[in-house]
């Protein structure tokens, strides 16, 4: 689609990047051996390999863990068939999921109609829907990736009226493209009122460009912070995106939708990552930015790194392979995921910590729970620190173990409550956890609260 642009360095090299710090970290405290030794004592070792089979790993990471019987079925069909089934994601959804979701008005009404509904109720509906889909969705990898992209393109419900717009963002941006085309997902996101409003592009005009969306589009959504762009590029992208706003006129048919206001667009010439954008481009400027950034090699690197950290941890060997798969497939998510799912790393690498959402869904699935996904469960997620759509910053909930392994108490309390059927709206159909994980014991609360269950 576009020739990759050489990175420009108009400014001096930018500060110490996270990556250069990681690279230099081992040596940096060498001058103070006692402190370095003390730190080493606190290095965070991962637990010993759990002995999980590749099929179990795939169920837990390319989904949210199995329901009773799933692991046996996966072992029966074998790893490759499981990978194909996960990638195809074409199983029909269960009727009960459709029934439960039909009650969530936030998914079925547009933002303007929703504004008659109390905000708290709309958010509750969205959070319920996310939990139900992860728990009951017949295509686990699609659900996993929907969560991944919702983090990647995070929109904070707590800002302004974003809550009312988030349902459409979920339905039109994240879910349709979760296993599809990355560039199309970004195009949809650029046309999502939730994103445009969250990152203030509705207040970006030719007189005073607002850099917020432009910066995060480059830094978080596409190129990555070490993707070779400069502050100058951020400002040029902001000019390209000026005039894209949310229709606020009451009588407009497009009210609440993203529209282009040519009067507020800066129509001068621009240069983005070395590409000249001629003057007079109008609304085509945004498309030009889109075509420059979506399939840029830096975007491939950034996405590969993020996907790997979520699925296997760091892996220099796989990194190159995943980048290649992304670029060769023109950003097809399935093709990008395939080398990860087929890798030995996902099967044999060290365990990854379950985030609170992973933990809750995995527990519900392992116990074959009947749940309404409602406020009682959501409260547990809140106490654990991961209520859906409530991460305020645009980078999405953290992934790293160090962020989450800071207190176990809410996890234990959740484990105890769910195992004792003490969560209103949720009842477990406890069968045999040993079907789900080989380490599943007889004491359900203990199993869900165990160190082993926190990892996947």
């Amino acid at each position: 689609m576009v020739e990759p642009a050489p990175p420009l360095h108009e400014e001096a090299p930018e500060g110490l990047s996270r990556r250069s710090l990681i690279a230099g970290a081992a040596t940096v405290l060498a001058g103070c051996a006692p402190v370095a030794r003390r730190l080493a004592r606190h290095a965070e070792p991962l637990p010993a390999p759990s002995g999980a089979t590749p099929e179990q790993r795939l169920l837990e990471r390319a989904g949210y863990g199995g329901r009773p019987g799933d692991l046996a079925r996966a072992h029966g069909e074998g790893r490759q068939a499981l990978v194909e089934r996960l990638l195809a994601a074409d199983a029909p959804e269960e009727a009960r999921l459709g029934l439960l979701l039909s009650r969530v008005d936030a998914l079925h009404a547009d933002s303007i109609e929703l504004m008659d509904v109390p905000k708290a109720r709309v958010l509750e509906g969205l959070q319920t829907a996310a939990l139900l889909r992860a728990t009951y969705g017949a295509n686990p990898l699609r659900e996993r990736m929907a969560e991944f992209w919702a983090d990647h393109l995070n929109v904070y419900a707590g800002k302004g009226d974003m809550t009312f717009m988030l349902g459409m963002d979920v339905e039109n941006v994240v879910r349709p493209h979760a296993l599809g085309s990355f560039p199309e997902m970004i195009r949809a996101s650029m046309n999502s009122a939730a994103m445009v409003g969250y990152l203030d592009n509705d207040r970006n005009d030719k007189a005073h460009p607002n850099e917020n969306y432009a910066r995060e589009l480059l830094e978080l959504h596409t190129l990555g912070v070490d993707g070779g762009y400069t502050q100058r590029d951020v400002m040029e992208v902001a000019r390209c995106l000026s005039g894209w706003t949310i229709q606020k006129r009451f009588l407009s048919l497009n009210k609440g939708k993203v529209v282009f206001d040519a009067d507020q667009h800066d129509d001068g010439a621009k240069t983005v990552l070395g590409h000249s954008i001629p003057p007079g481009g109008g609304e085509k400027d945004a498309a030009a930015v889109w075509s420059i950034v979506c399939l840029h090699p830096a975007t491939a690197r950034h996405l590969a790194r993020k996907l790997l950290s979520r699925f296997v941890g760091e892996s220099p060997v796989l990194q190159a392979e995943v980048e290649r798969a992304f670029l060769e497939s023109k950003g097809d998510v399935r093709a990008t995921l395939r080398p990860i799912l087929e890798s030995s790393e996902i099967a044999e690498g060290p365990p990854l910590l379950r985030r609170p959402f992973d933990l809750v869904v995995a527990a519900l699935r392992a116990t074959d729970a009947d749940t309404d996904g409602g406020p009682a469960l959501q409260e547990y997620l809140r106490v654990m620190g991961q209520p859906t759509h409530e991460w305020p910053m645009p980078d999405g909930y953290p992934v790293r173990t160090e962020a989450w392994a800071s207190t176990m108490l809410p996890r234990w309390n959740f484990a105890y409550a769910v195992a004792n059927d003490a969560v209103p709206g949720t009842s477990i159909q406890y069968k045999n956890p040993a079907d789900v994980r080989p380490d599943g014991g007889r004491d359900l609360a203990a199993w869900l609260a165990s160190p082993e269950f926190q990892w996947m």
Partner: protein, 402 residues
């Protein structure tokens, strides 16, 4: 803490643990074990009696990039008013030297006038990406991998550290506390209670008894904290000296910190987040509210501590400041430098650090960084050799602390 060299830092650790009962004895003795520990180890008592070098640090991070120019207003700079036709603060509380305090920060004025608050101009990191996440990472890491506070806590770790030695008010651990001794993320002391019966507790004790992975370490620390908190009654805590904490997450967090300091459970570091200060749009709509929350909470905390404020180091900073010129949305975009506020802990009140001025902005239009955040932190930690915690940093900010 007066630590001179790296070797001294390492040697220092065991001496601070003299009065601490071991975790085992706490676990075995429960509340009984704790009584001795608490009386022997009140951080505030320690400080006021000058018996141990421990001086607790309370760090408030203004997330999102606080617009320092509208907090500590450069009233002497015409360029400020020119660049902000709508957003410039026209009336502020005079601080001297050509600066004024935003009226929403008025609760801090008594601390300033008493010489208990310092403002360091134009603090920032060397990160120039203007990305929230890079700038926070640069500041929280302080030039090495892992958090600067984690390195400090590792360097000064006693043999039997309190499970409540380092806490973060929240659900996740900030980067500055990562990669060192275990630290606890904790939102509400009130709700820090384990469900279930004694046998569930016994099961957890057994399952988490061994192992050095992150989950097992956090699990043991959580269990020890449950025991430590059993003897406390957060609801019964009464602030002193007439302090009234406003209703806010930050104020609630600081109140809990005050309670833990008083309880003498060995708290040495507390991290609190505040924000989001990312005022790209309609800044005047919420920037004053954020400032009021911050100042109200800090003022109540300082009042509560009373004379003991001198033994507690409070540091307030943000990952960056904001652009000098206002934008189309009556807000400001990401900049480079913002003032740091330091309260208590023997700080020398008044302005510190150079004011880079608005006549010579950086090429993007931002106030330049006048003081590296690491030198401020090195001073706050009383590090004689800052490079033990901040590699390559030779000196703190001279004269910041008595």
């Amino acid at each position: 803490m007066d630590v001179k060299t790296c070797e001294e830092m390492a040697a220092l650790a065991p001496s601070t643990s003299a009065t601490v009962v071991t975790r085992r004895s706490v676990l075995l003795g429960g509340a009984l074990g704790l009584v001795g520990w608490m009386t022997a180890r009140s951080a505030l008592a320690d400080v006021s009696l000058s018996k141990t070098p421990t001086r607790p640090i309370v760090h408030v991070f203004l997330r999102g990039g606080a617009d320092g120019l509208n907090m500590v207003v450069p009233t002497h700079e015409k360029a400020y008013f020119d660049a902000r036709p709508t957003l410039a603060v026209k009336r502020s509380l005079p601080l001297g030297e050509g600066f004024g305090l935003h009226s929403a920060l008025a609760p801090l004025l008594p601390l300033w006038e008493d010489g208990k608050m310092a403002i360091v101009h134009a603090v920032g990191s060397e990160d120039r990406s203007r990305s929230h996440f890079e700038a926070m990472a640069a500041m929280e890491r302080g030039g090495a991998n892992g958090g600067w506070l984690a390195r400090y806590l590792a360097a000064t770790e006693p043999k039997d550290p309190s499970p409540l030695r380092a806490i973060a008010h929240g659900d996740t651990l900030p980067e500055m506390l990562r990669g060192g001794p275990p630290a606890l993320a904790l939102r509400s002391l009130d709700e820090f209670r384990l469900a279930g019966d004694a046998s569930f507790r016994a099961t957890l004790d057994r399952m988490y008894a061994d192992g050095r992975d992150a989950v097992r370490v956090a699990g043991r620390q959580t269990l020890a904290t449950l025991d430590a908190l059993q003897a406390l009654d957060p609801k019964a805590y009464r602030p002193r000296h007439g302090a009234k904490y406003p209703e806010s997450d930050l104020a609630g967090g600081l109140k809990q910190v005050a309670m833990l300091l008083r309880a003498g459970v060995g708290l040495e570091a507390a991290c609190l987040d505040h924000g989001v200060w990312d005022t790209h749009v309609g800044q005047d709509g919420f920037h004053p509210r954020l400032m009021a929350e911050l100042s109200g909470a800090l003022a109540a905390f300082a009042t509560d501590l009373g004379p003991e404020l001198d033994g507690v180091t409070i540091v307030v900073m943000s990952e960056f400041g904001r652009r000098v010129g206002e934008n189309a949305g009556l807000g400001t975009d990401h900049g480079r430098a913002a003032p740091a506020f330091l309260v208590g802990g023997g700080v020398r009140g008044g302005f510190h650090g150079p004011w880079p001025g608005l006549a010579d902005l950086d090429p993007v239009g931002d106030l330049r960084v006048g003081t590296d955040s690491r030198t401020v932190l090195a001073s706050a930690l009383r590090l004689k050799d800052p490079s033990t915690v901040f590699p390559g940093v030779r000196e703190g900010l001279a004269g910041l602390y008595v």
